[in-house]
């Protein structure tokens, strides 16, 4: 019963489900890449790491139940967004080291570590995609409500 309901709800908004699933997996991947790249580093934010994992888990949990399903992307977005800023809050000192002379020169950019660039892109992707999910989910939900209202 639960599974068939879940299946029905999933099929009802497949594109959203796919992107949401990718995003939540991406959040986990980001957390793993981040911890590998920055473990034991002065720029490691364990808060950001935890938020990504908790966000992904809560998303899956909320998605499973029809009552909470529509809040699932909101949760994911919230956690991803705060994680992004937690990451920034701890890593910005690194940027002050790379751009120590205050110049946004090509030479300074070339000194950015690939780990930093990779993590930044992943964090940004998580925040953006989770936001997109929220809108996709809501639009579908709104459409259903509107149809119901019209009826």
């Amino acid at each position: 019963m639960f599974l068939s309901d879940l299946r029905k709800r999933t099929l009802a908004n497949l594109p959203y489900t796919i992107i949401a699933a990718i995003t939540s997996v991406l959040a986990i991947v980001t957390a793993i890449v981040y911890v590998i790249g920055y473990n034991d580093s002065k720029y490691m934010s364990w808060l950001a790491f935890a938020l990504l994992l908790v966000g992904a888990v809560l998303f899956f949990a909320a998605y499973c139940f029809s009552v909470t399903q529509k809040y699932a992307p909101m949760i994911l977005w919230g956690f991803c967004l705060v994680a992004l800023f937690a990451f920034i809050s701890d890593v910005y000192m690194y940027l002050t080291e790379v751009f120590y002379n205050g110049k946004l020169s090509a030479e300074n950019f070339s000194n950015l570590s690939s780990v930093f660039v990779c993590c930044l892109i992943l964090f940004l992707l998580c925040a953006i995609l989770s936001n997109v999910c929220m809108w996709m989910c809501k639009e579908k939900a709104n459409a259903k409500e509107e149809i119901a209202d019209e009826r």
Binding site: L84, N101, S110
Partner: protein, 996 residues
């Protein structure tokens, strides 16, 4: 409006304001953390200074400038900068009288991309505004040397004219033009054939060491153009051009080849004497600063005669330097090349002990020549291109009447006199260098004490001597240098029985040969008959000398888990000397391997807050009735300095509240904050080892406060950048105390004009290897020379009321993994090779402050090392000022434990809660905090920060406008965000209520 529209609107608002809210929260937190910098950037002075009504008009300009305008100041600075280069540049080779360029033979061609992009300074804290600096073209033409402009223009317009940070950044490539691409006009007979001058340039800087091999390369491993990964050897294009120039010389196109080494990081010098390249003359000019090239031009034209002496050994090839077996990335886990940037897992071992630079090559040479057992194979001429202290002149000098007078009763100083005569045809200056040889005895072998066969103990420089003119120099040498540190049995400075030699020589090698040859004219022998462990058991401050660094020596550290370091010993060179790279620059992996023990892991935690424990000690008095303003404790009614130990200071410190103390000790980001209760002004510090410099952005008029003369006088040149001086290796190579003091005074003048009260500098770390990124900041491979030159520079700077933070205290001799790196060295090495450079500026020049280093001694962060920051710094050498951390790293540095150990301030701004948690139950820390406040206040009151202050001056601390603005924005954004959420929730819920 329908519900759908309102829902969409509220959703958009939620999205936008959620992001904004996060941004504002994080941004505010960062801005508050960097309060001082933000204020500085916005030109805000967070304090207002007021004079009481009817105050008497008294002269409160305690430190006066000798200049009335920035134009005059800069002119004088440029002259000193050029003078440093004139006296510091070292003439390495001069065959066939290639130099100076004779009148009528001054049409030259400049080769090398660096001819159009000179290396002025290092990057990071030493970077400077190169826009107004002298160029090779401008300097040479002014000195009457005509350059091949077609060739110069070709380089200028070529792709090889890549300017990194206006010519001062670290180069990711050598980027030299290959010979094949050079214009044809330079390859055939032309009007500029009097000399081909080839400029070899390298640069270095903060945060990155230079690459030794493809494996150890820490910089730009991919895509570089170094030969076999070695940044400090000629690359193929450079070799190609030099060889081609030799052919052109042989064909009569060029009369001679002159090489200029425009680098603070010594390039392997074997090519200079290799016949394949046909180099006639070579000169080391280092990084030249703003106007150093003007000095270089004068040297080449012969207007000035070179008198610089090498401040480090010039190696033929760096593979011969055993330091490189232990320089780079080593992690506890693997013992090999680490990849991460961990603050807890990296180490470096000073396995070479005291045998750095000339101490290694000369001692080994001595042991080979004197056929000491286990000396091994060592070919001095193969290893050393030019010895420490070496430098040619266009004239010749003779030494005579070398006399040494034993210390008089009650004194510990030998008085040495020597007469130096100019025996050549042109004016010139000469340096008298005095070296000491101590006996290496059975006692030393038994107790693990090492002795260099020769060590610099004194020097002096003549005035300009005309041909046949003589000058008798007097040099004082402290007998304390006869003692060596013996870490066994608790530790003591020990003079062992045997023969001691005080020798003079043209350089370290020459002095040693005088001893070997028993040349009585230049060597004085004195004999100690018995073992003396007591004479130097106490310092001038009456502190008893004992081991302070057992925890930095793995062989003495209780948590070593039985691991040992096999230090290099002259008792067995053969077995203990290891090298880092082979002839083909392959990394040999001969480093010391250390595993992290449980005890090490445990001891590392001391860095954070492990040292701070609760106790029952009563807290000091806070908030006592006001008796003094800070300015009242500057001098007494007789104009005498109120001593540090005065009771008045206790009374002033009683006036401080807990909150005042916390405020004072948590804000150290190039500042100390204003304290209203005692009317202490805020102060500003600058970061720079070569002057008040820091890239193009640093201008005289940047600091908009009450103290900078540039702003106060509204000088028309306030938007110009202060002078950058040549790299400190060249400063040291002048061997001229007076000149470097004058340079220091000019830096102090710049500080007065720019509004700075303190300077993060000078760099008195030791040039352990030329691959150190920050070699340009450090004076020498020798601690005594570093200490003396540093002391005189320091004295000059502080004469203008700008307190100096000598840095980086201590053993911060590599950039790789500098954050938290565990540095292992034995106590003799730490004291004799590294701490001596910090000691002399304090004891000779009253250097105020130090900056503690990123690294750890053993596993204890230097700022939390009580033996270093309290027992040594305050106890043994008597520094009264304060210690600031290097760039504060919260991952392993701790505010409380730093203060308890004697590190007074963070180079950062920390939250007050980090100290407020100790408000009760931590009496020992509270007293340490009071002492830190004492040191800071004592230093500030004797600085130029008090210019303009008297007893009638008051301050009002203001909250800057941006803080109010940020609070308002937080409230506004938070409110809109909250309202949007509420609106959305209401729109979600209300329709359902309606339905019900």
């Amino acid at each position: 409006m329908n519900v759908k529209f309102l829902k969409t609107l509220s959703k958009i608002l939620i999205n936008v304001f959620a992001v904004l809210f996060c941004l504002v929260i994080v941004g505010s937190s960062i801005a508050n953390e960097w309060e001082g910098m933000v204020n500085s950037f916005l030109g805000i002075n967070p304090t207002e200074v007021k004079e009481k009504e009817n105050a008497e008009d008294v002269d409160t300009e305690y430190y006066k400038s000798n200049y009335s305008t920035i134009a005059d100041l800069m002119e004088a600075g440029k002259e000193i900068c050029a003078a440093i280069e004139e006296e510091g540049a070292v003439l390495l080779k001069n065959e066939n009288s290639a130099l100076p360029l004779a009148e009528g033979s001054r049409n030259v061609s400049l080769f090398g991309a660096a001819s159009v992009r000179p290396v002025y300074s290092g990057s990071g804290s030493g970077s400077m505004d190169a826009n107004s600096a002298a160029t090779y073209k401008s300097a040479f033409e002014f000195a009457g040397i005509n350059i091949n402009t077609a060739l110069y223009n070709w380089y200028s317009n070529s792709k090889y004219n890549v300017k990194y940070n206006s010519g001062v950044g670290v180069w990711s490539k050598i980027n030299e033009a290959p010979y094949s691409e050079l214009p044809a006009s330079a390859k055939s007979e032309n009007d500029y054939g009097d000399a081909a001058i080839y400029i070899v340039a390298r640069t270095g800087g903060e945060n990155i060491d230079l690459s030794l091999t493809t494996k150890t390369g820490n910089m730009f491993n991919s895509g570089n153009d170094f030969k076999n990964g070695n940044y400090l050897t000629l690359n193929n294009n450079e070799i190609g051009v030099l060889k081609a120039l030799k052919t052109l010389k042989d064909n009569g196109v060029y009369d001679k080849i002159i090489v200029i080494l425009n680098t603070a990081n010594q390039v392997e010098a074997n090519f200079i004497n290799d016949e394949e390249y046909g180099v006639d003359a070579a000169m080391w000019i280092g990084d030249v600063g703003t106007s150093g090239l003007n000095g270089v031009a004068k040297l080449l034209s012969g207007e000035v005669n070179p008198s610089g002496k090498l401040s480090e050994t010039f190696w033929n090839e760096h593979r011969f330097n055993p330091v490189h077996a232990n320089f780079g990335r080593y992690s506890f886990s693997s013992g090999q090349m680490a990849t991460g940037n961990s603050v807890n897992n990296n180490y470096v071992v000073y396995q070479e002990g005291i045998y750095v630079g000339y101490r290694y090559v000369e001692t080994r040479y001595y042991d080979v020549v004197t056929e000491r057992e286990n000396a091994g194979d060592f070919d001095y001429d193969e290893v050393v291109a030019y010895p420490f202290g070496y430098g040619l002149s266009y004239t010749t000098f003779s030494y005579s009447d070398y006399k040494v007078k034993e210390p008089a009763q009650g004194s510990s100083e030998f008085t040495i006199k020597v007469t130096i005569t100019n025996t050549g045809d042109v004016d010139g200056k000469e340096v008298a260098q005095i070296y000491l040889q101590k006996p290496y005895t059975e006692y030393d072998i038994e107790h693990g004490v090492e002795k260099s066969a020769i060590e610099l103990v004194g020097y002096a420089k003549t005035k300009v001597l005309k041909p046949n003119e003589s000058q008798t120099l007097t040099i004082k040498v402290d007998k304390k240098y006869f003692a060596s540190y013996d870490a066994s049995e608790g530790g003591a400075y020990v003079v062992t029985p045997g023969d001691y030699y005080l020798a003079i020589g043209y350089n370290a090698h020459d002095a040693l040969n005088n001893i070997i040859d028993d040349n009585g004219s230049f060597v004085y022998k004195t004999t100690e008959s018995q073992l003396d462990k007591t004479t130097y058991s106490k310092t001038a401050t009456n502190a008893t000398v004992t081991n302070l660094f057992d925890n930095a020596d793995l062989n003495r550290y209780s948590g070593s888990g039985g691991q040992k370091i096999n230090y290099i010993t002259r008792n067995n060179w053969q077995q203990t000397v290891k090298f880092g790279m082979d002839q083909a620059n392959n990394y040999l992996g001969n480093n010391v391997v250390i595993s992290k023990t449980e005890q090490m892991t445990k001891d590392m935690k001391i860095d954070k807050d492990g040292l701070v424990t609760t106790d029952d000690i009563e807290y000091p008095t806070y908030g006592a009735e006001k008796k003094f303003n800070l300015i009242d404790l500057r001098v007494d009614s007789n104009g005498e300095k109120i001593p540090y130990e005065s009771e008045y200071w206790e009374q002033l410190l009683d006036q401080l509240t807990w909150e005042d103390t916390v405020e004072l000790l948590r804000n150290g980001l190039r500042t100390t904050p204003a304290i209203q209760s005692i009317n202490k002004p805020d102060t500003k510090d600058h970061n720079g080892p070569c002057g008040i410099v820091g890239g193009n952005s640093y201008k005289y008029g940047d600091i908009d406060n009450n103290y900078g003369l540039a702003i106060d006088n509204n000088d028309p040149d306030k938007n110009k950048s202060p002078i950058c001086y040549p790299c400190n290796g060249i400063v040291a190579a002048t061997f001229n105390d007076e000149l470097v003091e004058a340079m220091g005074e000019m830096v102090g003048e710049d500080a007065l004009w720019a509004g700075y009260n303190g300077l993060y500098g000078t760099g008195v770390n030791i040039r352990r290897t030329p691959y150190q990124g920050r070699a340009f900041e450090y004076y020498s491979e020798d601690a005594l020379l570093s200490g003396y030159i540093g002391a005189y520079v320091c004295r000059g700077i502080q004469s203008k009321g700008c307190y100096v933070y000598n840095k980086h205290f201590v053993l911060n001799d590599q950039e790789t993994n500098r954050n938290g790196i565990c540095t292992w060295a034995n106590e003799q090495t730490i004291r004799e090779n590294y701490l001596r450079a910090f000691e002399i500026p304090v004891t000779l020049a009253g250097a105020c402050n130090v900056m503690t280093a990123f690294n750890r001694l053993g596993v204890i962060w230097s700022g939390a090392h009580k033996g270093l920051c309290t027992d040594y710094l305050r106890g043994e050498i008597g520094m009264t000022g304060f210690a600031v951390t290097d760039w504060y790293d919260n991952n392993y540095m701790g505010l409380g434990c730093g203060i308890l150990a004697g590190n007074d301030l963070p180079d950062g701004t920390r939250n007050a809660s980090e100290l407020n948690k100790y408000k009760e139950g931590y009496g020992e820390l509270a007293w340490a905090m009071r002492e830190s406040a004492h040191r800071i206040l004592y230093t500030v009151v004797h600085s130029n920060a008090m210019n303009g202050w008297d007893s009638n001056t008051e301050i009002v601390v203001l909250t800057p406008w941006w803080k109010h603005a940020l609070t308002a924005v937080q409230i506004a954004v938070g409110t809109v965000f909250g309202l949007s959420v509420l609106a959305y929730a209401a729109l979600e819920v209300l329709p359902k209520f309606k339905k019900v």
